[in-house]
Symmetry: C2
Subunit: 456 residues, 2 copies
Amino acid sequence: MSSLAVDYARQNYPRFLDELKALLRIPSVSTLPEHKGDCRHAAEVLGAELTRIGMEHARLIETAGHPLVYADWLHAAGKPTVLVYGHYDVQPPDPLDEWLSPPFEPTERDGNLYGRGADDDKGQVYSHVKALESLLGANGKLPLNVRVLLEGEEEVGGEGISRYVASKPAELKADFALVSDTELFAPDLPTLCVGLRGMIYTELEVRGAKTDLHSGMYGGAAPNPFIAVAQILAKLKDEDGHVLIPGFYDDIIPPSPEELAAWKSLPFDEEQYRIAEVGSRTLVGEAGYSVLERTWARPTVDVHGIPGGFTGAGAKTVIPAKAVAKVSMRLVPGMTTTKAFALYKSYVEKIAPAGVDVEVRLISAGDPCLIPVDNPYVRAATLALHEVWGKDTVFIRSGGSIPIVGDFDRHLGIPSVMMGFGLPDDNIHAPNEKYRLKNFALGIESIIRFLEEAGG
Amino acid sequence: MSSLAVDYARQNYPRFLDELKALLRIPSVSTLPEHKGDCRHAAEVLGAELTRIGMEHARLIETAGHPLVYADWLHAAGKPTVLVYGHYDVQPPDPLDEWLSPPFEPTERDGNLYGRGADDDKGQVYSHVKALESLLGANGKLPLNVRVLLEGEEEVGGEGISRYVASKPAELKADFALVSDTELFAPDLPTLCVGLRGMIYTELEVRGAKTDLHSGMYGGAAPNPFIAVAQILAKLKDEDGHVLIPGFYDDIIPPSPEELAAWKSLPFDEEQYRIAEVGSRTLVGEAGYSVLERTWARPTVDVHGIPGGFTGAGAKTVIPAKAVAKVSMRLVPGMTTTKAFALYKSYVEKIAPAGVDVEVRLISAGDPCLIPVDNPYVRAATLALHEVWGKDTVFIRSGGSIPIVGDFDRHLGIPSVMMGFGLPDDNIHAPNEKYRLKNFALGIESIIRFLEEAGG
């Protein structure tokens, strides 16, 4: 691999790591109002660093929440333009007492860097910045046009960036996006994520009596919204995990035989997954589908909580006036959020038991997406990854949703290359989040080589 | 009606009412630690008043919580002994802003006395004290032997008195109990409550994965405890309100044809009840049973809340590791708490869906009870009530549970006469609690005449 930029990265790696540690020390927890200043500080640090390495027009874009960071370098005439996405905000560190080293004091241990945001997503964002520095530092220019767009609200729903992207600003005109917020399927296995499930998140409210009633006096005559909500939820999915909403599965585009065959060859053991990751008595879900199919390519329904009623210790004999179930559905390619919600809503209204009123509310929605793998950017990525990691890239999907990928597709009309270097055991959103030091180094090299290949 | 004691009560009624107001000004809210002193103060005031009117051996009996008040007068040789029960603690007054006059500043309005505890149970307790004063003041003696036992924890579970009664102290030896914590079925309709439903209150815990999981990553493979708990709850009761636990109904002793016929003649309109009291779209429950049968003489299952999981605003995509449903069952005569719990527990364990562990915990239990109406005390009560109210007494049941009645039966072997003078719209446990002034006056006269009749 002959790349001056890769040489530059290797020579400057110790400094890159020190700089990442400084970024990790900023507690930019987006959900906590007391860290509002820290979020802005992280944005300012990144903006200043982008200017320092030679990117242009670096600025903060204000939103109703935390600011976006924008910068560009657009001097590669005739070359494609990449939109580089990442986020500088992090999850809260709780529970604090489970951290072996302080969440905002990055600590090296066993070949890993521990700290909140080390993987998700500062470690990955900083890989991009340092790849750009390496290219500019080694060559005085970039191999293609680059726009950088970082957000500070990914962990709280990403409303600011979503609205900004929906406004289709000229500033975001690009040929493809590079999103580094995913992971390798297994250590040292170069991975591209090419599919995401969509989601509708809803509230299902069931109302019975006009006010809370005493269950002694009224039990047996007054409707109980918690029993009604249970009756409804029990009819959403049968005990084999099959969703019972009529028409729910109608539009699904199943994975191709080639994709299914590729998944079968991935290093994945269902029993090991059950024991190490889930820890339940058995796994559940639709018969006839593997775990990877069930979590990547099949829609499902989950319930997250049922607020209302009496939740304290001990006994309170109340028939609550209402119950609200937080219900979400994961959707797969072919399905749309609009149709799924309409089918769900009319089904719930139809099966609601006597005596109660139901209301179904949509809280948030994101369409599923499937990235075509036969484009030059994916080919450039696999070439670069093979060079850096010495192995063929595996194409996986994710059961989760990255709404920005759908936004880029829908509003900007561009595909995303989801090239991430996290690992499944990096404890994102949990105590002792880590990022493998090797992945930080090889991630930078992978991005350098990818941008060089994508620039042709 | 020629009773010196009734004359005494009528002459002293204005003072009785002033004294009740003073008692109502003591905010003896048993559940709030900051009112611990107020609870003791109320107990001391009642103990001192019992001594002042001529009762003997008045003293506070300490418990782990608020003290009991005891007093007796045992000089009616050859006469039966009555154990008079009531409670001096009250519910919290929240929500305060819905009160038209301050909860602890008793206020007369529209023929009612408004204030927390006016009905439940200070107004009723004080009727007993003033009936005893009237009898002692007019005659220098009581027509039968009297023991008074008041508690200060009725609104928080009544553990202290329950333990004390279970210890079967010689101090409580009596022939019957007089419990004034119930209500008239309708205004001016003399009423005795002769049956109570029992209850088991349980927690049903369902555990899936070892920790909370991301519903995107794991949805479709990891068990969802909220869906599992919904599936279980949906199988406890069908949509017609019929409980599906095998054997649940086996031991029920149905009301006699006479009792059922009497209920049919009560002034009760189901549609009016639905609109005014429940306010739901329809009433629910087992087909073929009237509302009074369903709430008085049929067992049922209610769910009070399902703590756990995500209950905040907005969306959090979590598959919670566990869910806990607060489930209670009302039991009717013939059923026992022990058997009902055992049937429920083994049924839940049998129907639990794959992938989850279930645990069923008993939180509290009280057996149902049915008071025989063919005893001299009930006859004395109906005679007294007819004299005071000019009407025949109706015998009703209550769907609720008054555990002390079961304790008196089980531990002391005595029946209870449940003669109360509240009204269905007295707003007990709610803002603007009231007690009808007429009922305070006639309640005292009813108790006087009842004790005179019971003394033969």
